[in-house]
């Protein structure tokens, strides 16, 4: 029974990974090759990689994606942790209103406010700029909410004793609360990095300058160009998948924790 189950599961997982393998196989295909085949040619893959990095705009897209995903990830961690901690542990005027505002926006999604968000960024003069792509996504209601949940669990006595010792409120946040919030912040960074690495719609709308395009927009463009072979396009997709996969495996624990929040009985 156990052996049967193990074998079946292995088979299912193998089938699930077939498209991933297909990505490798196609990336190593020269044009004449049958795309349905499973032959894997490392030297041809290497050829495609060096072609991507040495000619065309692929390195530019990669750089822009790194700027966006890392930038938004870091900003989210800083500002969501500040707001989440303040909402959980500090009494300040307007905290109730702010919390209601954040909970209210939880149910909104970018597609719903796409048009006015674009109009605001246009009004700010941020079309075709990094800040136009970064600032509208630099925080998330989910992020503030997540940090607040974690910050509520910080024992009040801990903060109180720091106050007795004369630490300033800001120092308490940076030196005591932030280290305790580390798991939540890593989860948040990872989820934001993955989301922004994959954000196609917003850069597509606010960036017309190819020099600003991140990978998703760049890849969509590459796909339509005739001088790009399928092998080359597939290699570009493969390289795009590497950073999220590496991060996900390094931070697997935090990834699962982030995905399962709210879904699992506390």
């Amino acid at each position: 029974m156990k052996v049967v189950r193990g074998t079946l599961l292995t088979l299912v997982v193998a089938v699930l990974l077939l498209p991933v393998y297909a990505m490798f196989a196609v990336s190593s295909a020269s044009d004449a090759t049958d795309l349905g085949g499973f032959a894997f040619d490392v030297s041809q893959l290497g050829e495609h990689v060096s072609q991507l990095f040495n000619q065309g705009d692929f390195p530019v897209y990669l750089r822009n994606s790194l700027i966006l995903a890392l930038g938004i990830g870091v900003l989210e961690v800083i500002f969501s942790s500040a707001a989440g901690y303040a909402l959980a542990q500090l009494r300040f005027p307007g905290s109730g209103v702010l919390f209601a505002l954040i909970v209210g926006t939880l149910s909104l999604s970018p597609i719903v406010v796409l048009v006015p968000m674009y109009l605001i960024v246009k009004e700010l003069g941020w079309i075709n700029s990094y800040q136009g792509m970064i600032v509208p996504f630099m925080m998330s209601a989910f992020g503030v909410f997540l940090v607040r949940q974690f910050a509520l669990a910080i024992p009040h006595e801990l903060l109180l004793s720091a106050r007795v010792d004369g630490a300033s409120e800001f120092r308490i946040f940076v030196r005591i609360a932030a280290p305790l919030l580390r798991p939540a912040l890593l989860t948040l960074f990872l989820l934001q990095f993955l989301a922004q690495w994959d954000n196609l719609l917003w850069p597509l709308i606010v960036a017309n300058d190819p020099g600003l395009w991140p990978l998703p927009v760049g890849l969509a463009q590459i796909q339509t160009e005739y001088d790009f072979s399928i092998g080359l396009v597939s290699t570009a997709a493969l390289i795009t998948a590497v950073p999220p996969l590496v991060l996900m495996f390094l931070l697997q624990r935090y990834y699962v924790a982030g995905l399962t929040l709210g879904g699992v009985r506390k």
Binding site: L9, T10, P19, A22, D34, L35, G36, G37, F79, S80, A82, A83, A86, L90, R91, F92, G94, L98, L101, I102, T105, L108, S109, I111, V112, V113, L114, V115, P116, Y118, L119, I120, M139, A141, V144, R163, V164, S168, E169, F170, F173, L194, D198, P216, L219, V233, S234, A236, A237, L238, A241, M248, Q252, Y255, V256, L259, T260, G263, V264, R265
Partner: protein
């Protein structure tokens, strides 16, 4: 002087007026960026979206109040109804199999053991793959000489034009989306299953309940909250899905895969009809909220707390 200070209990000192002020000031400062951000990039856009949905606005001029015209036009717009139908089919078509298959894989996979932990790591790969890269891979898989046709060729079927056939294109998207979501749902369901109290299952086994009975009578009811969570994010996610349709088929052939978000995007940013696009956004939002509410009602029904 020093003596009298020592006599004051520390707690009284730190909760004094000075402390209140320091706390309010720091709290205000830490929360200020969030307050500005959520106001400017979420609350104001939401209010503006509601307003624009009652106007005619083409970016060049100023919005012109037209009352319910946009909503009235939507009722008679075949493009909108087509997109609504496509989105409904895409949502149901991808949500049902990904949850059913996800559960079928998660139940055995959640059992303890090193090998299962290893397999769980592998299952995450599709979930962590960027959707953009995934779409490009699947566009090759669905190509004329791609993997899909090679596989159906094994059982003797003739090659199919997956992405250019009006009847097939949407199902090609559904297959890809199901694959992408399956890994994600398996992870979430596995975590939910691992959180269930083991003693209940042991007791049921002692009472002689078979695996099928245990699954329907114990696992499913206990897993209700996790299932509800997966269902809600699956439905809301599918209704907002833009990337697969944009990259694989561009909404074609003949609108067969023109999901609502794609129609919204084309209306607003292709034809610059911002008012009408905002009205579509409002309908999408209300539909998502209503469906989430219904799911909560149905799955939560009867459960205490």
């Amino acid at each position: 002087m020093t003596v009298s200070l020592r006599l004051v209990p520390p707690v009284a000192r730190v909760s004094g007026k000075g402390q209140r002020w320091a706390e309010a000031r720091t709290g205000g400062l830490l929360a200020l960026p969030a307050a500005v951000y959520f106001l400017v990039f979420w609350l104001v856009p939401f209010v503006v979206a509601v307003y624009l949905s009652f106007t005619s606005y083409d970016l060049a001029g100023t919005p012109e109040w037209t009352g319910l015209d946009n909503y009235r036009r939507m009722l008679g717009d075949p493009g909108f109804w087509n997109s609504a139908r496509v989105t409904a089919a895409y949502t149901v078509g991808s949500v049902v199999p990904s949850i059913v298959l996800g559960l079928a894989i998660a139940v055995p996979l959640s059992k303890p053991g090193r090998y299962n932990a290893f397999l769980r790591g592998l299952v995450m790969i599709p979930a962590a793959m960027p959707l953009v890269a995934t779409s490009m891979v699947w566009s090759v898989i669905f190509a004329e000489k791609g993997l899909a046709n090679a596989l159906i060729g094994l059982v003797g079927a003739a090659p199919k034009p997956w992405l250019t056939d009006e009847g097939l294109a949407l199902w090609a998207l559904v297959i890809m989306t199901t694959w992408k979501h399956l890994g994600l749902f398996v992870i979430i369901l596995t975590a939910g299953l691992q959180g269930l109290p083991l003693s209940v299952f042991e007791a049921a086994e002692l009472d002689g309940a078979g695996p099928v009975r245990i699954f329907y009578r114990i696992t499913l009811p206990l897993l209700r909250r996790t299932l509800l969570f997966v269902l809600v994010i699956a439905v809301v996610g599918a209704m907002q899905s833009f990337v697969p349709a944009f990259l694989l088929t561009k909404g074609g052939p003949a609108g067969a895969t023109e999901v609502l978000p794609l129609y919204l995007w084309a209306t607003g940013f292709g034809f610059e009809r911002m008012g009408y696009a905002s009205a579509i956004a409002m309908v999408l939002l209300v539909a998502m909220l209503l469906l989430s509410l219904v799911q909560f009602r149905v799955l939560r029904g009867g459960e205490e707390g």
